[in-house]
């Protein structure tokens, strides 16, 4: 019962925020605005869904912002060289997956703590992105690529949102019903016990980081499509927004807790706050304070619950 209430807290907050913004701003509850909000969240949200899996298993990935830029640049560079949009998008996703796999390998093979391993990859991916582009955005991109980030189904449902929905459903299923998902919770809850009960920590960790890498690659392609350019500086600071989404949604940085739905709601809470502040004309500086405060609140709530359980 207690746990249920805590899990529902993000949903109540989301609903409360939604209702109050509808009352406060006449522009909030319009198709245009809701579709923008959903589109604005999709990139962070898709990465956050992958991050949920990593955080549940007790890990963390700080490299996602840089990997997002790397994938976007790889995909757009390949388009610039005449490769088709579909194949280039796939290449972008695979380049993200490669970074995820490297993160996993560094963590499992060299026993480098995930924070440090991914901090290293964050620098390497960003540096490599700037190196291969010379710091200059990739601009020669076919017009049809714009559809991935800026297109709509039936004129109102943004393409990235549909992608997010698909990924959310699949990942939710993976977490609840597959061995990998259950193992992730077990590893995050107690790695020693998981190991002793015969879970192959190495392969699980590799797969988990690779999934996040691939999702980050996909998000990178969506971002590139939305920016109509491959920006080597894209995604700066995204890792923190992604981690914040997971944490606000009830994920625990100690591992063992978190849900895809919670994370998605967490990401939406942040973008509703941004959107609401913009619509109401609240200073951007206050926006940052609000979001920072909410992250602290969410984690404090988590810690309170933990102490009560003990």
């Amino acid at each position: 019962m207690r746990d249920l209430f805590r899990q529902l807290l993000p949903f109540f907050s989301f609903a409360g925020l939604f209702v109050s913004l509808s009352i406060l701003s006449p522009y909030f509850l319009t198709v245009d605005n809701l579709s923008s909000v959903a589109r604005q969240t999709a990139v962070i949200n898709i990465i956050a869904v992958g991050m949920t899996l990593v955080i549940i298993s007790g890990g963390i990935d700080l490299s996602v912002g840089s990997v997002l830029a790397f994938s976007g640049v790889c995909g757009t560079l390949s388009m610039e060289r005449g490769v088709g949009v579909g194949a280039s998008t796939l290449l972008g996703i695979l380049s993200g997956l490669a970074w995820g796999l490297s993160n996993g390998l560094i963590v499992t093979q060299f026993k480098v703590p995930p924070f440090i391993a991914t901090l290293g990859c964050m620098g390497m991916a960003r540096g490599l992105t700037l190196l291969i582009t010379d710091g200059i955005p990739v601009t020669a991109i076919p017009k049809s690529f714009g559809r991935l980030g800026d297109g709509n189904f039936f004129g109102i449902i943004p393409v990235p949102v549909v992608i997010l929905l698909g990924i959310g459903v699949i990942m939710s299923y993976v977490l609840r019903c597959t061995r990998l998902g259950r193992y992730a919770y077990a590893i995050g809850g107690n790695p020693q016990a998981a190991h002793l009960s015969g879970i192959n920590l190495t392969s699980c960790t590799l797969i988990i980081y690779s999934i996040l890498g691939a999702l980050t690659g996909l998000a990178g392609m969506i971002e590139a499509s939305r920016l109509v350019t491959g920006q080597p500086t894209a995604g700066d600071g995204y890792e923190l927004r992604v981690i914040a989404a997971v944490v606000i949604g009830g994920g625990s940085l100690n591992g063992g807790a978190g849900t895809v739905l919670g994370t998605t709601v967490g990401a939406f809470i942040m973008s509703l706050l941004n959107n609401g502040c913009n619509l109401l004309g609240i200073s951007p500086f206050i926006q940052q304070i609000l979001i920072g405060g909410i992250i602290v609140l969410a984690v404090a709530a988590d810690e309170l619950r933990r102490r009560r359980l003990e």
Binding site: F5, P137, D150, L227, L280, G281, P284, A301, R308
Partner: protein
Amino acid sequence: MMSSQHSQLKFGRNTRAQISWAVFLVSLLAFSFCQRSKQKVIAVVPKGQAHIFWQTVQAGARAAGAKFGVKILWNGPASEIEISKQINIVEDFINRRVDGIVLAPSDGKALVPVIERAVRYGIPVTIFDSGAQTESYVSFVATDNYFGGVKAAHRMAEILGRKGDVAIVGVMPGSSSTTQRENGFKETIAKEYPQIKIVAFQYGMSDRAKSLAVTEDILTSNPDLKGIFGPNESSSIGVAQAVKGRGLSGKVKIVGFDSSPSLISDVQEGIIDSLIVQSPFAMGFEGVRTLCEKFEGKTPQRRVNTGVMLITKGNLFEPQVQQLIHPSLEKYLGEQ
């Protein structure tokens, strides 16, 4: 009995969390009441917030707002590289149905779809500072950046006696205004001053600390360097700090771009020889003015040139220069 006590205690904690949400929502409400009015509303979106330059743009925009009786909304990303954040902000202004948008696009291509979307919704857009690859704007209000670079090159040649090695600490690739300044400088040196050689060109990524680090490396690898050009505020500050730090003030001449209190004091102390100064105040003012003209049914000028000025120790205290480098920010920004 025990267990019911326990659950009551717990309920209290949840209530507390709910109260904090309620407090937050009430504060949102309070903010929103300050925002109701029927005047025309113009949104001004800078590339970033961290440079004095943008705050001066804001002062200019607010001055025009006060003069023409329109409400100015100011919102932009914290830094110049947050392109998708800037797109989100413009989208939110469109959804809010402002009457006009004055925008400094942080990327010449990435902002095009959202500019065109605004125009589709009947919201006129004036572009300032940097160009965008679209024709769907009312006016383009900016410095002639290429000419600013040319002016810097002539000054550099004059103080170096038309010979010697120089370096450029560039701003960042993809930013069209600063790239034009860099090109104006490079091409003028190449064409008119064959004895001056540009031996290094590195980007400081619109960041003081990075510009400082890049300049230090350039100074280390080019011991014979005679001059450095910094094409914006962050580059100029980084260059000045590096030259100061190495004790090379006066030996390595600096021509910078833009002004800030620290740059001006560096000119006074002779660390920076001269600054090419644009008028961000005029950009903000003219940007808003073009849209106000549009509201009145007039056709504003398509290209508004806001001009540049060379500032040296010699002319620093002329009233014309003082007004440019010390616009009274408090006067316009204090009353927000």
